[in-house]
Subunit: 504 residues, 2 copies
């Protein structure tokens, strides 16, 4: 343990999880490490939740994180009814249910924005930062584990810090992080990052030892990624996208090295990355949030030369492979705070190719990433807005239908808009790809319907659009029918119209 | 003239407007100077339009600009039916009509994005850049007049350049501009701007003399601004906003110097700025697109110490005053390209207070800035998205009702979404202000309805929201009624429900 806890000033701060959890009081705000299951504080929040359940007294705290936590933590906190406000992202089924019944207030933020709001004093003081570490250095630097997330801003802004020193995370992670924290707005310089492998910060999170109230020793692995392997449709999406990139190279707008790649989590993005395996593209770079299995597969294949991320989130097998051979990957990796991985300044400067998943898109290219049928929160916008708005190519992928064709992902009007027509460059489904750059709405509608919609729904979309054209306008719509597809799904269980298309 | 046309290599390039217009061929793309009526190329486009009318042959060009042009240019081009595609912003009634009947394709872009798309080769080659100048220097630098807009990127990327050397624009403008053009994405460094008065570029737009095909001498004033003076409601909006800023100072989140101010064009923004006249705030800074009358009034009153903009757009009287005493203002002004005034990197670094106008907002804080009733284009998103997303405070202002109460600006669901809930911090109407920062949707709805909606519509909004709550969800809605207010307005001429509110 002492080779991990190297700051002698903190030697007497080791406490049990129970003791540390006991410091958290009703009404407080806690900032937890963790980004997409990686590097989350695993023991203190769960211990706290168990205490709350046991006590059976009203007890609520605000819970701020990097992104989603491991499989247990959000579940247990939600079950304990201890979460007043949760931000900026989650993926937990139990918590989702409580968000959708209104008993947990969820603030769905761009992942680059949370740090800014905390720094500005808008989101209330953070009482406790609870962050996982692989080590604390001689000079009081917290070395994060498999993610950085918002931990640097939580530690900087919190009144107190609790460190979970996790013996199960390899000490080889030390040296992988690059922690850079901008100063207050109006008092900061440019963020100096100009290439994805550049180091601009410190190897860990600097902390005033007096602020560290306790260090809890843990020994728990990250929850493994549960990624779904590519299927026929996601492979088709990947093929359309790779073909498009090939055409961009031919047109002279990209080189064969492409541009730094960002991809959201999930099976489609994973499929796209796997598609690169058999492609002619080489020497690829990744500047993303989550480094998933496919990044390491592409490294093994010599396709990816460097990857900058905010977390390493792997399946159990891949974790064994990567952390068992970490020397092989260390020099090709850097983990940064999410404020940097997702910063508009950097995304636009580097000119990323950004691939994220849509829940649904409408005929004009507005994208819903968050609210099923406009109302039920899935996970949150995450970084998709940070990336899509500022990337060289803002790409959204989705299967054209869901629930065996009962839902069309291409609809007349997106039932919730997270990304507007101004921010969506490309939409890809297994049916094809719509390149919307430089197109007016009426041009966009034709491309999206013809290239991306499923054959089951094409006539229905054409009929809507033709009726809309009779009403006129820059963005023609039949407003009273704009959500009729969603209403039909709610009532009849399908977006398909019953009556057959009229014969002509 | 020769003291303005100082590059001897271009001495023989002076041509008539007719000759220059004659070079423009069917199918070409032209890039015109001009931002919010200021510094537009005034003679060649109009001469071209007249020729097209006269010839009465099919003739279409793509017209790219900075933002809106003076009162004549877009009108005459629209009347001549010579515009195939127009971007990124316009405010002309005749052109608007043709955009809305589908005969002109309008691409509604973030004003910071156009340069990036042209640079990347996505928006096709620019055949002719036609830019107004007050001078051409000895070493071939085009000194723009009252705006910079996209002129730098048009000149850089166009095959040919036509300069309108306007004798009616004061040569005292020379020295006011700061032209900085980022390199291609992935090959650029940070934009070094860290304070609003900093100069990072050149005094004009560098141009290869061989690319300059013609110089047309003109003598025409900018179209004057037609700003509406504050009325009771806009004064109330200003008062709410200034009071909010006062509270932010008290809370320690702002100093009395506030933060660099951006405001969209129009009477509300003008009213807010006039509200600063009688306020305790001092030493204010402006980092905006358009410098309107109120900026100079505040300078005269010693309230504004420096203003950085993309254009100077004034009423006729104020123009006489400002340009008649320009020595007084010169050192307190800089005009930059719109890619820099609107750049996410700079907006976020400086932490602007950003004030823009909404057409309508919904109960969750989604804002429509562009499409009346979701379909009819007004002007375009302009810079409002660049600013709102990245500002310290993204503020949207609107009167709570329009058309004598027949339209509510607060609606159940925005009929077009330009700014999502993730990007809208504050909504202000004459009724009050809703501070939405850090709030979940259900909290936002209550604040917006209670603080911002007009009494005429409060019960109707409450009834919608209460019914939505029975359906549940993170963002409760009654989708089949979400646009019923707009449908009612289309059918009955009012959003007000006929039946009186039920007595309780």
């Amino acid at each position: 343990m002492w080779e991990r806890l190297r700051d002698k000033r903190m030697a007497d701060k080791v406490v049990t999880a129970e003791e540390a959890a006991g410091w958290i009081e009703n009404g407080m705000t806690i900032g937890l490490s963790g980004f997409t299951r990686a590097g989350d504080s695993k023991l203190v929040p769960v211990t706290l939740a168990e205490r709350v359940k046991r006590d059976n007294q009203p007890f609520k705290v605000n819970v701020y994180t990097g992104a989603s936590l491991g499989s247990e933590v959000d579940t247990v906190m939600a079950e304990a009814d201890m979460v007043l406000k949760r931000l900026p992202f989650q993926t937990d089924a139990t918590m989702r249910k409580k968000i959708n019944d209104g008993s947990i207030l969820f603030v769905d933020q761009h992942l680059s924005h949370t740090a800014e709001l905390i720094r500005a004093g808008v989101m209330g003081p953070i009482d406790y930062a609870i962050v996982e570490a692989v080590a604390v250095t001689e000079d009081g630097m917290i070395i994060p584990s498999t993610s950085v997330g918002n931990s640097n801003i939580f530690v900087e802004q919190a009144k107190h810090v609790i460190i979970e020193l996790n013996m199960a995370q390899t000490t080889e992670l030390e040296g992988v992080h690059d922690v850079y924290t901008p100063g207050p707005q109006g008092m900061r310089g440019p963020i100096p990052l100009v290439s994805i492998d550049q180091r601009i910060g410190t190897l860990g999170i600097p902390v005033d030892p007096d602020k560290v109230r306790g260090i809890v020793i843990t020994n728990m692995e990250d929850s493994p990624s549960t990624i779904v392997q590519p299927d026929e449709e996601t492979a088709q999406i990947a093929a359309h996208l790779i073909n498009f990139l090939r055409e961009e190279v031919k047109a002279g707008r990209l080189t064969e090295k492409l541009a730094p790649l960002q991809s959201g989590i999930g099976s489609v993005a994973n499929a796209v990355f796997q598609g690169f395996l058999d492609s002619e593209f080489n020497d690829l770079e990744v500047y993303s949030e989550v480094l998933q299995d496919s990044v390491f597969e592409l490294m093994d294949a010599g396709k990816i030369s460097f990857a900058s991320g905010c977390s390493i989130t792997l399946t159990a097998d891949m974790a064994k492979h990567v952390f068992g051979n970490f020397a092989k990957y260390r020099d090709k990796l850097v983990l940064r705070p999410q404020e940097i991985t997702n910063h508009p300044e950097i995304i636009r400067r580097l000119g990323l190719i950004s691939i994220n998943t849509a829940l649904e898109a409408d005929i004009y290219g507005n994208v819903n990433s968050t609210n099923v049928s406009g109302t039920k929160m899935m996970n949150g916008i995450g970084g998709s807005g940070d990336f899509a708005r500022n990337a060289r190519l803002g790409i959204f992928v989705t299967k054209s239908i869901a629930k065996d064709g009962k839902i069309s992902s291409i609809v007349p009007f997106a039932s919730h808009v997270d990304h507007t027509e101004h921010d969506v460059d490309i939409i890809v489904t297994e049916q094809g790809l719509a390149d919307l750059r430089g197109l007016a709405p009426r041009e966009r509608a034709l491309k999206i319907i013809e290239n991306c919609a499923h054959p089951l729904y094409k006539d229905q979309l054409r009929a809507y659009y033709e009726e809309a054209l009779t009403r006129g306008g820059h963005t023609p719509h039949v407003l009273e029918k704009a959500f009729s597809w969603h209403a039909r799904f709610a009532e009849e269980g399908t977006m398909l119209e019953k009556k057959p298309a009229l014969s002509r």
